[in-house]
Assembly symmetry: C2
Homo-oligomer: 286 residues x 2
Amino acid sequence: MNVFVIGIGLIGGSLAKDIKRNRPDSKIYGIDVNEGHLDEALSLSLIDEKADYSQLHLADFVIVGIPVDVMVQELPKILDSIDDDAVVIDAGSTKSLICKVVENHPKRRNFLACHPIAGTEFSGPSAAIEGLFMGKTNIICEIEKTAFKLQEKALELFQQLGMRIRYMNPEAHDKHIAYVSHLSHISSFMLGKTVIEKERNERDIFDMAGSGFESTVRLAKSSPAMWTPIFRQNKENVVETLGEYIQNLKEFEAMLIADDYEGIYNEMNSTNKIKEILNGIPLNKK
Amino acid sequence: MNVFVIGIGLIGGSLAKDIKRNRPDSKIYGIDVNEGHLDEALSLSLIDEKADYSQLHLADFVIVGIPVDVMVQELPKILDSIDDDAVVIDAGSTKSLICKVVENHPKRRNFLACHPIAGTEFSGPSAAIEGLFMGKTNIICEIEKTAFKLQEKALELFQQLGMRIRYMNPEAHDKHIAYVSHLSHISSFMLGKTVIEKERNERDIFDMAGSGFESTVRLAKSSPAMWTPIFRQNKENVVETLGEYIQNLKEFEAMLIADDYEGIYNEMNSTNKIKEILNGIPLNKK
């Protein structure tokens, strides 16, 4: 089985590792604009060989894990280059625009739109982790637009990797993911910014930081090259979500200014039920 | 050595565990308004015996780990009840008001104002962890107001528990801790609230949540009874900090609305240096 991984970073590299483990007979080809990443992927044995689009006709599986702005440019070209029996799987964090750009492509039936909800704040081939997808949700969009045999082929692979499958339309995906992923990243980046700005004038503030701070700003380590196009493609939903978050913070601030500590207590108390909600989330932190 | 732990929860219980391990000859007395917590602490062997204020004259060490509103009421009474050789150590997350209420107490020299920066989002005796304070920063305020012999006694204990000591005045503590701890809690609670509100209308949104979301809302599991009085006592600093955070979020929102993706990229890129900063933080997540 020939697997082409386009974008050999955290997601592409982790998928490559798991595929190799589950199907030792498979040959993994790596394609990446970053030659250094390809060399690193080779030395880490994530891939067996460097490749380019001219070899894509050999592929059984093509996995695309690249920033979503590059994704919408490259996907049509990738589909142009594959054989009729190949399935192209993306791992983009947005789904509407990605599905739209291939909507009328003659090889649309060879494409499966996916978003595996897994990852860490790190990036590049060295961030690849074995078993990253075990127990994690993989959201599949527009399953009906993919050829049935290729659906089966992809689902069999996802099952081997331990993924839980959830079907959703691209618009619902983008709306909901703004709340449970994109907003967390903005909240984290701006928290990091607020404290770094303070640190400029007040030295050694970070000596005082504990694990709580670390946890809330962890996502501020994420890659700007990956996240800028995500916010751009999902602008409408992110703006709505962010507006609601800012409004909630302003209401909290107003209660504090008004010395309404009963109100503050009640807010926190009713939000405490996040405990039960979080108990259902499979974690994948390194 | 007789150690009285007043408030046998996460912090008091973890201190009791470490003291018992380091000084097996010590006898740990527990005092708590919650009778259930005392029974639990006994059955978990966190304490050797239940006690009350009438026995405090037996104490060599008194450790007070109670909500900061109760702290300012109880500390003078505790100091009233101890012997001349005892040292009372608090573990409150605010320091100004606590130092102020005992400022003119006849036993001020028996008190050491502390804030060990350690904890988790859990509470109660069952949340107590062995080794919680290893490598963690313990902020000591107004060290010069504590009797020298009692300073030595306390510092020897902190050293055995593996704490790093940092000296600071109460006002500087409260100002800086607002940034690296109190703000993280508000950010987390309001993020949880925003998503829970959405969930009311949109079922199953949490199936889509990954570890990034979990990390940013972890602190929203924290105890409202503990955190409401912290925000109250540190109101001025928290309001300032929260205002700066909201301003940064609004600027991010404005850039998004204006399609200024270069600006968004630059914001995230310059905040990425939080990576290096976080590398210096000792973690204590369970």
